[in-house]
């Protein structure tokens, strides 16, 4: 414990966004970022990342494999506000517009070791059928002002979301304290 600051513990995460299953879509890429509480601060590694575009595998699984590495270290004094990884997946629609295909968030694992997480992804739905059509037609689907809101509870009451597919992110997390 340093005299200067309060004693902290470290949370080291490394892992990868492995693959996704979006059976209807192809050529997707993925962004990740972290949402954490006030007591948390990243100390090393990248807090945000954007992956390459991947194509569907040709086999039956039709998996979209990124194997996109994540490596970040947080320090904190308080487990409250445990970091969540927020993933958002984008890809082109029929007209070639880049639209969002899914948002999802999951807490980082609490225990050290190798964890595999499957995150259900969803996208917000248009508020009306007409808007749904126009947004589809214009290629401007409703999306969150910030992907980070999916990790927050505030203000989510009125929103419709269409639950979409699954996606696997594998996280390994050596965990160390102090």
């Amino acid at each position: 414990m340093a005299a200067a600051g309060p004693s902290v513990f470290l949370l080291m995460v490394n892992g990868q966004v492995e693959s996704a299953q979006f059976p209807e879509y192809d050529d997707l890429y993925c962004k990740y970022c972290f949402v954490y509480g006030q007591d948390w601060a990243p100390t090393a590694g990248l807090e945000e990342g954007i992956s390459q575009i991947t194509s569907k595998s040709q086999d039956v699984r039709q998996a979209l494999v990124w194997n996109f590495p994540i490596d970040v270290t947080f320090k904190s004094t308080n487990p409250y506000g445990w970091p969540q990884i927020v993933l958002s997946v984008y890809g082109p629609d029929v007209f070639g517009n880049d639209v969002v295909r899914g948002y999802g968030a999951v807490h980082l694992p609490f225990s050290p070791g190798r964890h595999k997480r499957t995150i259900p992804m969803f996208v917000p739905e248009s508020t009306s059928k007409l808007q749904k059509f126009t947004s589809w037609f214009m290629g401007r689907r409703p999306e969150y002002t910030d992907p980070k809101v999916v990790a927050q509870g505030e203000g989510r009451e009125g929103e419709n979301a269409e639950a979409e597919r699954l996606k696997a992110a594998q996280l390994m997390l050596p965990f160390s304290s102090q």
Partner: protein
Amino acid sequence: MVSENPHLGNQPEPLQEDSDTRPLSMTTRRGPRSLPPIPSASRTGFAEFSMRERMREKLQAARSKAESTLLQEIPTPRPRRLQSPGEKELETEFGAEPGEEAQKTQQEDDSQSRSRVKFRDSVRKIKTKPPVPPGFPSAEEAYNFFTFNFDPEPEESEEKPKAKNRDGTTQEEEEGEEEEPPVQGIHKTDEQLLISATEAEAFLWGLDHAAADFVAVRPADYESAHVRLQMEKELLFVPSRLTVPTYKKLPENVQPRYLEDEGLYIGTRPDVPRTCQNIMENRLLTQEPGRRWFGDDGRIVALPNPIKPFPSRPPVLTQEQDFRAELETLYKKAVKYVHRSQHMIGSGDSPGNFQLDIDISGLIFTHHPCFSREHVLAAKLAQLYDQYLARHQRNKAKFLTDKLQALRNAVQTGLNPEKTHKSLDTTQKTINEYKSEIRQTRKLRDAEQEKDRMLLKTIIKVWKEMKSLREFQRFTNTPLKLVLRKEKVDQKADEEAYEAEIQAEISELLEEHMEEHEQKMEAYRAAYQQWKAWKKAQRAKKKKKKQAVEEHPEEEMGEPYPEEDPVKPVPPEPTDRALMEHQVRERAARSRRRPGEPLLVPELSLAGSVTPNEQCPRVEVLRREDVKRRSIYLKVIFNDKEVSRTDSRPLGADFRVHFGQIFNLQIFNWPESLTLQVYETVGHSGTTLLAEVFLPIPETTIVTGRAPIEEVEFSSNQHVTLDHEGVGSGMPFSFEADGSNQLILMTSGKVSNSVAWAIGENGIPLIPPLSQQNIGFRSTTPSSSVHVVANGRIPPFLCALKRADAISSIGTSGLTDLKKLAKWAAESKLDPNDPNNAPLMQLISVATSGESYVPDFFRLEQLQQEFNFVSDEELNRSKRFRLLCLRSQEVPEFRNYKQIPAYDREIMEKVFQDYEKWLRDRNVIETKDHIDPHRAMVAKYLQQVRESVINRFLIAKHHFLLSDLIVEEEVPNISSEGSGILGLSLFKLAEQKRPLRPRRKGRKKVTAQNLSDGDIKVLVNIIRAYDIPVRKPTASKFQQPSRSSRTFSEKHAASPTTHSPTHSADYPLGQVLVRPFVEVSFQRTICHTTTAEGPNPSWNEELELPFRAPNGDYSTSSLQSVKDDVFINIFDEVLYDVLEDDRERGSGIHTRIERHWLGCVKIPFSTIYFQAKIDGTFKIDIPPVLLGYSKERSMIIERGFDSVRSLSEGSYITLFITMEPQLVPGESVREKMSDVLKKFDSQEDEKLLQATEKFQAECALKFPHRQCLTTVTDISGKTVFITRYLKPLNPPQELLEGCPNNPQATAELVARYVSLIPFLPDAVSFAGICDLWSTSDQFLDLLAGDEEEHAVLLCNYFLSLGKKAWLVMGSAIPEGPTAYVLTREQSHYLIWNPCSGHFYGQFDTFCPLKSVGCLIGPDNIWFNIQRHDSPLRINFDVTKPKLWKSFFSRSLLYPGLSSVQPEELIYQRTDKAAAAELQDRIEKILKEKIMDWRPRHLTRWNRYCTSALRHFLPLLERSRGEDVEDDHRGELLKQLGDYRFSGFPLHMPYSELKPLIEAVYSTGVHNIDVPNVEFALAVYIHPYPKNVLSVWIYVASLIRNR
């Protein structure tokens, strides 16, 4: 080789020795290894051979050492001769020969070879083991024989015979042969080679050699399965699968015990296959002889099966599962919700028919309104008689008497110690106990006897009363008759017994008293002793005193006696026997039958006759008739529902009703309540509910046929008065003639009934299952296990119960009460080991261990206590918890507290100190920070208003709109202009994705919610400046300015005035006039541009300043309340040559850079935030006096822009300011608020409000971007029509007197006064929630407001000055939407900026007002419907309806709205002394600050200069900062001629200290680090009425010229 020769002689001997053993070995071994006796030995040359032999020998020596059996291995040459495939392989290594010698020498190393040999030996040992099949040697020979032929060498044939007889020959022969002179050199060498090759290999690969050796010689190795099995048998152990006989597993001569058979409970064993068990048993038996693994029954000891019957976790979904399956919605048929309370039978239970039999046999009234007096007495008598009978049956008195007798006997026997064998102590103790018990019993007996007697007496008394009543009324109503039967007693015996009893009692009492007396005497004696001692002491004292008194008689009186005088104890009186006897007798007489008195036995009979009606008086007849009219019936209410009713039966004369009905209630639900309602019908009139009788629900054991008839009492509180003999109910009546001794009786009675469960056809009682009935059971055990007999399924534990007959002992209902059950189990001493009882015992153990304790109250979070890891007090004491709480409550101090420490000890106490201080002081007005008490109060008030407003909208802040979270295309709307027609937007689709000429797209706006430090930047683009003041050359320092006096008309005349460019000639051509640069400071971050040259510089630079929100809170409300300003300072960079020696000028440059502040532009952050961008040319706020600089412009400029420029004074800078990313200003909050605001009521006329809405809608339709304001919110939140704010109001008299005959000067003075009131935007004070307008008096009281308040006040002043004035709502730079004041002079319009006090002509290009939305006068509103909205291009003539749309017109006449403004403004004169004090304090604080800012330098103050400045400042105030510069400069120069002086006065309204400090700081005066610099600072405060203060600060730095 040669070297080895000498050894040769020695070789044979050891060989000899070896050879002796050889035949042995040959016979024993005979493995395939030792194949043929090969003649090759003969072939080998001697030397080589011997050498080889030597090696072999050595090996053999080692071998012999190890094991004699292995020695036979020696047959060195032979194997080599063999042309086995292995050998052939080796032959290929002929080439290795040259290395052989070296190898051999190496071989000398014994240890090496030995170790190798050893290994080989061990290998061999294993290999030799297998037995040789018989007849093998012959085969061997045959093999040999054939192989010889294959040898290509001719020499071999020679050796053949040798080989042939080899077996027969002795070893000596062989040796001899071998020692033959080597003839066949080559062959020998061949052989040698062969050997050496193998040898070499062996040496090289120590291990491989051995292996190769063996492998080489052996044919395929075969071991028959049988042999292998044999072998394995020795090594391995295979436990048998057969069952082990029990006797093996038990110690000798022990019979197996089966605990289960003995009735002990043993758990279920885990399921293990029999074979596995057998194997294990066998293994255990062989492994360890100990039998500890086997239990008494001969089986392996095992714990009960640990496997739970049900999995405790839900099954985990496998990853591979199809995701569709997980997302799929399953349809489930709607299940009717079954209310699982005890009213219903669970869905799982069979819905049986349960039956409750209610037998109502009759009803007896113990009181009824129709009772006559006699009836009352009769009822009483009957009651008493019943009581008597009951007592008689019990006969308690007799029992107690007997007990007493027995006790007495016991005492008697106990007193004779010889009769008992007990020790004295115990007897004494028991006797004492007996005695006390005797006392007790006696008392009880006496009481009982007395009661008996009393009862008897009462019965007799009542009977007598009744008799007298009957006599009195001369008729009888009741057949009741009491007969007292006398039982004769033997008087003598009775008397004796009586006497004996009394005597015994007396003696006992005496004894008691004696004891008591003893004790008392004891106490007395002790007390007496004490008293005596005291008395003695007292006497002695007195004596002394007496003597003393004699000596000093006068003192006698003064001597007080000791206060406490112990009373002389009185000895207790001895008991008087006679007295006691008297007492005892008296008591006996009272409570006991006198001796000889006959025993009285009352008998009540109904033998009496009732007087017939005709003999009765009329009232009685009436009563009887009334009784006859009455009939009674009962309703049976089950679970609050009427299920049946009895027949209506007439009330008999004896007030008994017989029903005799049995109701069979077929029930479905568990009975909650069972009630009988007694109804009475009088004649044909309606029925009345007399009373309700609550019947107990029978226990489950009570079934029909066994149920006893019970009498349940009831009573009603009805009040009935009757007009006949009936006494009524609830009415006082009396038996006495005088009406005394009144009685009040209520209707009451008894219902005799029996309630029982019916028995079904097969003898099963029809009782609903217990599960419905018991909550406790349900919570502890699965309810399925508690289904009862009725269901046919009998749970195991109930079977157990049956066997143990628990039901019969505690009743079936006892099963429901676990406590009772446990108690019963404890009492009946159930065998806990009995397997039959196992489930029951388990149940009981669960029940009695607190786990399933069923509380009789409901608690919401019943496990809360368990989860409370710490007590509440301790939790509250925790600093960390407190910090977390405060943060989550969003207390401003902690709202964005980062990294709350993990431990309490790491939290500093001072974290809370500020907060606690704030909590304490929130209502205390702090004058320290504000210096001026009035402003402190105002600040406090504002703070409080703000707090309350903020608290009200904290919720709103947390409420997000959908648009805050989701970006979505707007709904395509045909009418709306924004998103366009649907078709139009579709048309847009056809546009190119990337047009060749892209149009600028609006920046994306960011909602300030996910931002953090460093995300937001303020971009300041500094483009150019005009008319920067230029340095005045020192040469012209005594020059008088040309424009010493300008008139007002000069300023505003449209025609250009001539500024005589007299000074332009003074500037030497080519000399740099000024080198300005711009420094932007924001939140103490400073950026500056490069230095440009000349008075009209062009920088065109972008500066980027990071923005930090207060406390890191980037929420909208927080951003709105940022009060920081962006300071844009213009400096002049001055280079001074400090080179002292001119000779060095050639070699070096030594300059000092100084910067002189020229002026600044201040833009509040809130303006940038709300405007998103600020673009325009601003007037630089240049101090009125800039020493060393002059505001002259060169001819060229004047020529170029004369017509427009000449009007405007001062310097200008063109700026573009914005924020990156663009933040959405808090509009959303306002929108949310509009709902709330609408709730604030308005006092305006409804029609007017509708008109305003209509007007606004119309205006918005035409010009959506023009500001149109009709109603505003006042400070209390009410909507007010805007014109009500405008009303002529008197300005301070002081200002009017200033220049009485110059209206324009007065106007300017007034404008200046208004501008001196500090500016505080509403957005800051109310965090952007709403725009509140305060009236002018409120504004003056608060001394803070934004543009509207300033403008309203100024407009009102102008109106009172008699000008035509309007409020202009429009937008200006940098303020954005704002309010200005328009006045009409004789021929032209003037636009006043109320916040700065400046005014502009209508056609002034530098007028900050850029667009005009509407004009507001005191009686109308005009909306600008002209094409343009720039003041330059519009016509202000409001009378033209084509240009101005007026609110009140002919269609809607002005209703004459009263003003919200006060009648008159009252101005207090500001306390001059206070102002002076404030002035001193500010000066002191500023000086301290400047010294603080220069931590590394000495700050000297030039007092002389300071005083000079101080004198100058009032002058400046008087002239309002104009036209004094040159005089002042001259004066200063006169006084401080040898100083280089740079400085300037700052002027601003006073609100708080902080802006002053900021302003001084931003000028950068303190940045001079010339060593001998001196400073001067003077502050002057000019007080205006109403505490408006004008502050002047003169800061200067002086450098002494050398």
